[in-house]
C-alpha cells in the first residue's frame, strides 16, 4: 500500500464506517475537551498558522480596467493615452483613477513593464488604500502558461506548448485552479498542497480546504476535497435538521433516523456512483459535529463587513479562522467565488457595480485579520478565467488571456506591481496576439502559486507535486523566490519532504 492509499483508507477507518451521526455526540465531547486547552483567537507570537484565501472572480474580469496606466507624457510614459486609444469607449477617464503611490513596476523575465504611473478603478478605494499601505501587490499580465512564451512569434510558430482552450471559460477557469494548462484532468493547486500538508493539522476530520463556493477544482487533491460551508456561520445551520419537536418521541425518532442514515451511507457500494455519493455523505457527516462545536466559540468581530455575497463569504472565513484552534487547524485554504464578470455587454456599469463589492469585502477581510491579530498569517489573492480584450465590442469586451491579479495580506510585500504590464498600443506590443488585444501572459500562474506555496510550508522539493510545470519557469535556490511578492522574514522554508512524487502531465 502506498502512502496515498493509506491516507484514503485511514480517512474512513478513523471514524469506522458504520456509525457516523450516532457517534457524533461523543466526538463533540472530544472536540470540546480539545477546546479546553483554552486557545484564544489571538495567536501567540510564534503561532504556526497560515491560511490562503482564493477569491475566484468567475467569468473573466476585465482587469485592464482594474489596473490602468496613468502617464500622459507624449514621447515618455504615455500609458494613459495608449490605453484610452485602444480601449475606446471602454476607457475610464484619467481624472477618476485612484493613484497608486510609486508602484515600482519594473520588468519580469526580460519583459519590460512599459509604464511608470498607474492608477486603479475609481470604485476600489479600499484596494488603493491597501496598496499604498504596502499590504497589496498587483501581478501584471499573469495567466495560464505551460512554459514561457515571450512574444507573438513564439506563440504562432507552434514550438511552444499553448494552454488547451485559451479564451474558453470552462478551460481557463479550470486551468487557473489547476495550473496545469495542458490537461483537462488535473487536480487543483490547493488540493495538491493539502495532500502534502493536511496531516499536519491536529484534526483531520475537517478538511484543510474549506469552501464557500461549493465544489471546485482548486481545492480538490488526490486525497483531499473541500468541506463546503454556507456563509451563514451558525452552529444551528450545520448538519441535519431535527424532527419536529411536537412529534411525540421526536428525540427517539431522530436517533432512529440518524442511525438508519448512518447505515445507508456507511456501507460500501459496488456501483461507484453510489459509493461516491455515500462517501461524500460519510465525510460530510463526520465533520458536522466538530464544526458545529467550533462555531459555538466564534468571538464577536468588530470589523464591519459589507452585506454582499462576497462580504458575507469573507466574513464567514474570518469567523472560521477565529476558531482555528477549535478546529485543530494549523493550515487552511479557503475558496470563495464571486461571479458576474463576463461583461460582453454593459461593462462600464458592471464594473461600477461589482468592483466596489470586491474592494470593500477584501478590505474588510484584511481589517478583520488585523483585528484577530493574524494579518501576517493570512494571504488572500484573486484569480479569474482570463482578462478581456482591450478593444471594445461596442458595449463590453470579449475573452482574452493574460490579466492582472491582486495579492493581499500582512506578509505581502505590497505597494508594488510585479510582473510586466503589457504595451497598450497593440501594434507596438510583442505580447499581443490578436487585433482585439489579447496578451500572452508574462507571468505564469505557477509562479504565483509557487511563491505562496513556499510561504505556506510546501518544501522546495515538493513544489513539483503542487505545480508540475514549475520547472519550466523557476527552480528554487535559497533567497530566490519566483516573483518576490511575499515577505519570508520569519518564515522558515520547509525541509520536510513528503513522499509524494512529482506529477507529470
Amino acid at each position: 500500500m502506498n502512502r496515498r492509499d493509506f491516507l484514503k483508507q485511514s480517512g474512513c477507518a478513523a471514524m469506522g464506517t458504520t456509525t457516523l451521526l450516532s457517534t457524533l455526540t461523543s466526538l463533540g465531547a472530544v472536540n470540546g475537551a480539545m477546546s479546553h486547552k483554552n486557545l484564544s483567537s489571538k495567536p501567540s507570537v510564534s503561532e504556526d498558522y497560515k491560511a490562503l484565501v482564493c477569491v475566484l472572480l468567475a467569468g473573466g474580469i476585465d482587469s485592464y480596467n482594474v489596473l490602468i496606466p496613468r502617464g500622459t507624457t507624449v514621447g515618455g510614459d504615455n500609458g494613459y493615452n495608449e490605453y484610452a486609444s485602444t480601449r475606446s469607449d471602454l476607457a475610464i477617464t484619467n481624472a477618476s483613477l485612484l493613484a497608486l503611490n510609486n508602484p515600482q513596476c519594473t520588468s519580469f523575465r526580460g519583459l519590460p513593464c512599459n509604464y511608470g504611473a498607474f492608477g486603479i478603478h475609481p470604485a476600489m478605494t479600499g484596494m488603493r488604500d491597501l496598496f499604498n499601505a504596502g499590504k497589496l501587490a498587483f501581478m501584471a499580465n499573469i495567466g495560464t502558461l505551460v512554459e514561457p512564451i515571450m512574444n507573438a512569434t513564439e506563440f504562432e510558430n507552434g514550438l511552444k506548448k499553448i494552454p488547451e482552450g485559451i479564451y474558453s471559460h470552462s478551460d481557463q477557469i479550470m486551468q487557473w485552479q489547476t495550473s496545469v494548462p495542458q490537461s483537462r484532468n488535473a487536480l487543483g493547486v490547493g488540493g495538491r498542497i493539502a495532500d502534502l500538508l493536511n496531516a499536519g493539522n491536529v484534526n483531520n476530520q475537517i478538511s484543510m480546504n474549506i469552501s464557500l463556493g461549493g465544489k471546485n477544482i482548486f481545492q480538490t487533491g488526490e486525497n483531499i476535497s473541500e468541506y463546503s460551508i454556507s456563509n451563514n456561520v451558525n452552529p444551528n445551520n450545520v448538519g441535519l435538521d431535527i424532527l419536529p419537536s411536537w412529534w411525540s418521541d421526536s428525540g427517539l425518532i431522530n436517533d432512529i433516523r440518524n442511525s438508519a442514515i448512518d447505515s445507508l451511507v456507511g456501507q460500501t457500494y459496488a456501483n461507484l456512483l453510489q459509493e461516491t455519493y455515500a462517501g461524500t455523505a460519510r465525510s460530510a457527516m463526520a465533520s458536522f459535529e466538530i464544526f458545529k462545536e467550533a462555531l459555538k466559540r466564534v468571538p464577536s468581530i468588530a470589523t464591519q463587513f459589507p452585506n454582499t455575497s462576497l462580504g458575507n463569504d469573507l466574513a464567514a472565513i474570518a469567523k472560521v479562522i477565529s476558531v482555528r484552534a477549535n478546529l485543530g487547524a494549523k493550515r487552511q485554504i479557503f475558496f470563495v467565488t464571486y461571479g458576474g464578470w463576463d461583461m460582453h455587454d454593459g461593462l462600464a456599469n458592471g464594473l461600477n457595480q461589482r468592483l466596489p463589492v470586491v474592494s470593500d469585502a477584501l478590505k474588510a477581510f484584511y481589517d478583520a485579520t488585523v483585528e484577530l491579530g493574524i494579518a501576517e498569517n493570512v494571504t488572500a489573492f484573486t484569480i479569474s478565467d482570463f482578462a478581456r480584450t482591450v478593444t471594445s465590442n461596442g458595449l463590453g469586451s470579449d475573452h482574452a488571456w493574460g490579466g492582472n491579479s491582486m495579492v493581499i495580506g500582512g506578509s505581502v510585500k505590497g505597494g508594488k506591481i510585479y510582473g510586466a504590464f503589457p504595451k497598450m498600443d497593440l501594434n507596438a506590443s510583442p505580447q499581443n496576439i490578436s487585433f482585439r488585444g489579447n496578451f500572452i501572459p508574462a507571468v505564469s500562474t505557477d509562479e504565483l502559486y509557487a511563491e505562496m506555496a513556499l510561504w505556506y510550508g510546501v518544501s522546495p522539493t515538493d513544489l513539483c507535486y503542487v505545480l508540475p510545470n514549475l520547472g519550466n519557469f523557476y527552480s528554487y535556490t535559497p533567497g530566490n523566490y519566483p516573483i518576490g511578492f511575499m515577505n519570508f522574514n520569519g518564515t522558515t522554508i520547509s525541509t520536510e519532504d513528503k513522499p509524494q512524487s512529482c506529477l507529470v502531465y
Binding site: 468567475a58 475606446s88 482552450g165 485559451i166 479564451y167 474558453s168 471559460h169 470552462s170 478551460d171 483537462r184 484532468n185 461549493g214 465544489k215 476535497s225 463546503s228 454556507s230 435538521d241 424532527l243 419536529p244 411525540s248 418521541d249 427517539l252 425518532i253 432512529i256 433516523r257 442511525s259 438508519a260 442514515i261 445507508l264 451511507v265 457500494y269 459496488a270 456501483n271 461507484l272 456512483l273 453510489q274 459509493e275 461516491t276 455519493y277 455515500a278 461524500t280 455523505a281 465525510s283 460530510a284 465533520s287 458536522f288 463576463d342 460582453h344 455587454d345 454593459g346 480584450t389 478593444t391 471594445s392 465590442n393 461596442g394 463590453g396 475573452h399 490578436s434 487585433f435 482585439r436
Partner: protein, 642 residues
C-alpha cells in the same frame, strides 16, 4: 386517494406464481391476459428482488419485448418513467406496463405540446390586474409588475398538469444544454423565462436545426449571450468596436460541436501525436461573430434600441442590415446627410469551420445567419455531441461509445434521410438496449447517474401524488432553489448547474468516468437536500405558496399537502414490507437493495405505533410513512438512478 389499496393487493398477491417462474430464470415480464387477471413471469414484481424486466442482455430479447406483445413489468415500467419523466405516479407505471415501452414512447412523442407557460403566465398576470382593478382602476398589464417567481409558479403548474410528460422531461434537459438563466439582465422578467422555455417545449420533438434557429432568434438568448444589438465592426468618433464574440463561441462550444473533433461514437479524434484536434480556433470565432450582427428586438424601430416592455422578450428578433439609429436618436437633425447611416450587419465573406459564407449585399445579410446555422448543423460533431448530452440528461452519465454511436447514427439520419430529427433521437435514446437493460451490459460499476437535485423534488411531488382539488398549484419552489441550488432557468452560468464532463472525486476518481450532477454535491447541498426533504415531507410543507398582491384571500386549495391516508394500514409491523415495496417501486423502480430495505424497515419498526383494533393510530402511521419515504430518498439506491 393516492394509491388505491386494491392495487397494492394486486401487486403483492402473486408470490406463489412468482416463485415458480423465478426458478425458470425467465425474463421479468408481466403479461396482462386481460385487464383484471394478471399472470406474471419473472422476478420484477417480487419484493426485495432487485433484478427487473430489463435484465435482458441481448438485443433479441429487447426486440421481443418491444414488438411482440410482451410487456414490461412494473419495475421496468417505473424505470423507463424515471428516465423519461420528471417523476412518476403509480397510475403512470400501470399505464406503461399496459402499453409497453415503445408504444408509450410513441404515444408521448405524438402528444402535442399541451401547456404554454407564457399563456398561463399572461392569464395569471391578467387575473392579478383584474383583481387590483376593482380598487385601483388605473391598473393595467403594463403597470402591474411581476417577479421571476411568477415564472416558477407557471412552470410548476405546467409540470403538474401537462399530459405530454416526456416532452416536459426532455425540455428540462434541453434547458440544461441550451442554457439561459434569470441570473442575467432579465432577472426580474418572468416572460423572458417563460417564452424561452416555451421554445424548448415546442421544439423538444422537432428538428435540431429548427431548435437552434429558434434559440438564435430568441431575445432571451440574445440578451443572455450578448448578441442583442450586436453591431458590425464600426469606427465612430475615433473609437473602433468589433462584433461581440460571445454567442459565436458558446454556440459552437456548448450548443453544437464542442471543442474537439469527435468520432461518431463520441470519442475524440486524435492527430498523429495522439492529441485531440480542436474544432475551431479564435479566427473561426471572430468570423462567426460577424454573422450574428444586426439583430435587435422584434418590436424595435432601429438597431441599438432598448427593450420596450416585458413582451419584448416574447418576440422573435428582427434583422437590421442598416444602422439608422441616428435618425431616431438625433431626430432634431434636419439635413438627412448629417445622420450617420452605417451597416448594422457586417458585410464580406466569413470563413469558419472550413466553410465560407459568400460575400453578399448587406440587405441580404440575414442569409448569413441561415448559412452559418447550416454549416454548424452539418458539422459531423453535432450528432455525437448532442446525443451524448441528451443521453446524460435522460439515462446515464457514462454511456458506452456504442450507445452514443447508435443514437448519433439516428441523429444523422432518422431512417428517412432526415438529419437532426429529435423525435427519432429521443426514441433511440429511450429504447436503446443500454437504456432498457438494467445492468448496463453487466457493467454495473458505472451504471446510472446521480439524480439532479431538482428532479428529486419533482420525483417527490409526483410520486407522492400531490393533488390540488382545483388542479391549480401556486408553487414558487423557493426551497428547492435555496436548499439545493437548482430550479429551472436558474443556472449560475451558460455552463449549466453542472458540466457534462465533470469527474467527481471519491470512488470514481481516476477511473476516467463522468458524474455531471456530482458537481452540485458537497457537504452543504447534501444536508441542504435532506433538510429540504425534512421540510417538504416531515414538516408537511411541499410547496411554497406566494401571495399575488396585498390583501389577497388565501386559497388553501392552491397549496396542497401530501395525503398519506391510504398508506396508514401499511404501517402495521406486519405490512411494512408492502409499504416499502410500494415506494420502492414508485420512487426507485425497485432498486433499493434488500439490505437497505432491511435497514429502513428496522428503523420503522422502532418508531412507536399504537394500534386500536388492529388499526394504526393516524399520527403514528403518518410518522412511519414519512420517515420511510425520507429514508428511501436519502439512500444511494434512490439517488443514483440506474
Amino acid at each position: 386517494m393516492s394509491f388505491p389499496l386494491f392495487a397494492v393487493q394486486r401487486l403483492f398477491g402473486i408470490r406463489q406464481v412468482l416463485t415458480i417462474v423465478l426458478l425458470s430464470g425467465f425474463l421479468g415480464i408481466t403479461l396482462f391476459a386481460n385487464a383484471q387477471e394478471i399472470v406474471t413471469f419473472g422476478k420484477g414484481n417480487a419484493p426485495n428482488v432487485k433484478v427487473s424486466a430489463s435484465g435482458i442482455a441481448n438485443q433479441t430479447g429487447i426486440r421481443t419485448l418491444m414488438s411482440s406483445g410482451y410487456l414490461p413489468n412494473k419495475n421496468s415500467a417505473a424505470r423507463l418513467l424515471s428516465q423519461a419523466t420528471l417523476g412518476t405516479t403509480y397510475d403512470e407505471i400501470e399505464n406503461v406496463a399496459t402499453l409497453g415501452v415503445e408504444k408509450w414512447v410513441d404515444q408521448q412523442l405524438a402528444t402535442p405540446n399541451s401547456f404554454n407557460i407564457t399563456t398561463y403566465l399572461q392569464n395569471l398576470h391578467q387575473s392579478i390586474v383584474d383583481s387590483l382593478k376593482r380598487t385601483e382602476p388605473s391598473k393595467e398589464l403594463t403597470n402591474v409588475f411581476l417577479s421571476d417567481w411568477h415564472f416558477d409558479i407557471s412552470w410548476f403548474q405546467g409540470s403538474m398538469t401537462a399530459t405530454d410528460i416526456l416532452r416536459w422531461r426532455v425540455a428540462l434537459g434541453l434547458s440544461e444544454i441550451f442554457v439561459t438563466s434569470r441570473i442575467s439582465a432579465f432577472d426580474g422578467n418572468p416572460y423572458a423565462l417563460a417564452s424561452y422555455y416555451d421554445v424548448l417545449l415546442e421544439n423538444s420533438f422537432t428538428n435540431y436545426r429548427t431548435l437552434i434557429e429558434k434559440i438564435t432568434y430568441h431575445p432571451s438568448m440574445a440578451v443572455y449571450l450578448t448578441f442583442m444589438n450586436n453591431h458590425a465592426t464600426d469606427f465612430n468618433n475615433g473609437k473602433q468596436t468589433f462584433p461581440d464574440e460571445n454567442y459565436a463561441r458558446e454556440l459552437m462550444q456548448l450548443f453544437s460541436i464542442g471543442l474537439f473533433q469527435l468520432n461518431l461514437d463520441g470519442t475524440e479524434k486524435k492527430d498523429g501525436n495522439g492529441k485531440s484536434i480542436p474544432t475551431y480556433n479564435n479566427n473561426d470565432i471572430a468570423n462567426l461573430a460577424k454573422v450574428f450582427t444586426g439583430l435587435s428586438w422584434g418590436d424595435s424601430r432601429y438597431i441599438g434600441e432598448r427593450s420596450k416592455d416585458y413582451w419584448s422578450y416574447t418576440k422573435k428578433l428582427k434583422f437590421y442590415a442598416i444602422d439608422s439609429s441616428d435618425v431616431y436618436i438625433r431626430w432634431w437633425v434636419t439635413n438627412p446627410n448629417n445622420w450617420r447611416i452605417v451597416n448594422a450587419h457586417e458585410v464580406g465573406a466569413k470563413t469558419f469551420l472550413g466553410s465560407t459564407i459568400p460575400a453578399r449585399s448587406v440587405s441580404q445579410g440575414e442569409l448569413d445567419i441561415k448559412d452559418a446555422l447550416d454549416i454548424i448543423f452539418n458539422h459531423p460533431n453535432v450528432g455525437p455531441f448532442i446525443s451524448r448530452r441528451l443521453v446524460q440528461r435522460l439515462v446515464t452519465s457514462n454511456p458506452s461509445p456504442a450507445y452514443i454511436q447508435r443514437v448519433a447514427t439516428i441523429f444523422n439520419n432518422n431512417g428517412s434521410g432526415v438529419r437532426g430529427d429529435l423525435k427519432a433521437v429521443i426514441k433511440a435514446i429511450l429504447t436503446d438496449p443500454e437504456a432498457r437493460d438494467c445492468c448496463n451490459n453487466g457493467n454495473t460499476q458505472f451504471a446510472g447517474g446521480l439524480k439532479e437535485p431538482f428532479l428529486r423534488y419533482m420525483n417527490l411531488v409526483k410520486g407522492l401524488n400531490l393533488k390540488s382539488s382545483t388542479n391549480v398549484y401556486r408553487n414558487s419552489m423557493r426551497r428547492a432553489y435555496e436548499k439545493t441550488g437548482q430550479i429551472p432557468m436558474y443556472s449560475p452560468s451558460v455552463f449549466n448547474f453542472f458540466s457534462p464532463d465533470y469527474k467527481p472525486d471519491g470512488a470514481l476518481k481516476g477511473m476516467g468516468k463522468y458524474g455531471p450532477e456530482f458537481q452540485t454535491l458537497n457537504s452543504q447541498t447534501l444536508t441542504g437536500y435532506m433538510n429540504a426533504l425534512n421540510s417538504w415531507l416531515i414538516n408537511d410543507d411541499p410547496i411554497e405558496y406566494y401571495g399575488y398582491f396585498g390583501n389577497e384571500t388565501y386559497k388553501p386549495e392552491q397549496e396542497p399537502r401530501f395525503n398519506f391516508t391510504a398508506d396508514y394500514p401499511l404501517t402495521r409491523n406486519d405490512r411494512l414490507t408492502q409499504l416499502l415495496d410500494k415506494y420502492n417501486l414508485i420512487l426507485t423502480h425497485g432498486r433499493v437493495s434488500e439490505k437497505n430495505l432491511a435497514i429502513i424497515k428496522k428503523a420503522l419498526l422502532n418508531i412507536p405505533l399504537s394500534l386500536s383494533n388492529g388499526v394504526p393510530d393516524n399520527d403514528d402511521a403518518l410518522r412511519r410513512v414519512r420517515i420511510a419515504v425520507y429514508l428511501i430518498m436519502s439512500s444511494p439506491d434512490y439517488l443514483i438512478n440506474k
